[in-house]
Amino acid sequence: MKKLLIPAIIALSVSAAFAENQVATLRGTAPLDENPDAPVIPKVVNSDIRQVRNYPEQPPVIPHKIDGYQIDIKYNQCLTCHARSAIEVSQAPMVSITHFMDRDGQFLASVSPRRFFCTQCHVPQSEARIELKNTFVDVDEVLDYIQSQGGGSE
């Protein structure tokens, strides 16, 4: 019986896929021998308005374009505005003090090498259509929910 079950399941799911005639792939529904139309490249948000963080530890997102900004071993163009000494002129937020800490918890005089590549954590946003619904709720909503259910505050 078991020997039969597995092929049966496979056969069933394959035929289901064929019936749907749609396998979920990144290329969408275009036939293999045709090029699908490329989606329009969404605009990058360039509002310079700081965005809410969804949780306190979230690296803040970049509210502006960073096209062509050089971040490599030679230079870091983000620091041109976000360095401690630069913010009076730029009025940009200073890089967090946590970024001056090396892995032993020692504070250095400037950004620690392990925090040098800003775009590892911080990214600009685009006006892209959201492909998948996100069910994330932030902590305030969780607390509200608990309270509404008569949950304790302690």
Binding site: S47, G68, Q70, K74, Y75, Q77, L79, T80, C81
Partner: protein
């Protein structure tokens, strides 16, 4: 030898007997135009991007970098070429820049920046010269295309309009003070970069600190 010179001088100083004054004046004028035109044509030939990138030093380093920037490809299709940013328009300044460029020919012959590594090693110095030139002429070459009078800062991003209002329109800073690396990769300023040092004074101090 001495005799030859004195004979030459005698011929040259003798008034022309067979040629009319009109011929000499007009002929001189025409030849002048030809030479002057030829000179300027030759000068213009060196004033094209094709000429600049005919050397691999420029083609393989700064030119490939330029190609990824807004000054090479953008929505409006207007672009800047090397001489737009690097050669003054006014004739006297142009000649001065061309004379300075003779040194670059020497550098070419002796291979001062013949490899990427040599180029990178020299880059801070080369870039500093350009920054100093732009600081001194109030970014004249940028302003040949971008006029701060015609700039509608209300159409710009918040950051851009605030920076321009506070520092550009007041004349406190010039384009290059803030827009370094607009067309090419920046030189190795790792040391300076740690402290976010963008301005020439600080780069200068960085330069002298590495010189020690």
């Amino acid at each position: 030898m001495r005799r030859m010179i004195s004979r030459f001088w005698r011929v040259m100083s003798k008034p022309a007997t067979h040629l009319s004054l009109g011929f000499l004046t007009i002929g001189g004028f025409v030849m002048g135009v030809i030479f002057w035109g030829g000179f300027n044509t030759a000068l213009e030939l060196t004033n094209t991007e094709e000429f600049c990138v005919s050397c691999h030093e420029m083609r393989d380093n700064v030119f490939v970098e330029l190609q990824t920037t807004v000054h090479y490809s953008n929505a409006s299709g207007v672009r800047a070429t090397c001489p737009d940013c690097h050669v003054p328009h006014a004739w006297s300044s142009k000649i001065a820049r061309k004379m300075a460029a003779s040194k670059e020919v020497y550098g070419k012959i002796f291979g001062t920046i013949s490899t990427r590594e040599k180029f990178e090693a020299k880059r801070l110095e080369l870039a500093s010269h350009e920054w100093a030139r732009f600081e001194a002429n109030d970014s004249l070459e940028c302003r040949n295309c971008h006029s701060s009078e015609s700039m509608d800062i209300t159409l710009q991003s918040k950051r851009a309009s605030e920076a321009h209002e506070r520092f550009l329109l007041t004349g406190e800073k010039t384009c290059i003070s803030c827009h370094k690396g607009i067309a090419h990769e920046l030189p190795d300023m790792s040391e300076a970069a740690w402290h976010g040092k963008g301005d020439p004074k600080l780069v200068q101090s960085y330069l002298s600190s590495v010189a020690d």
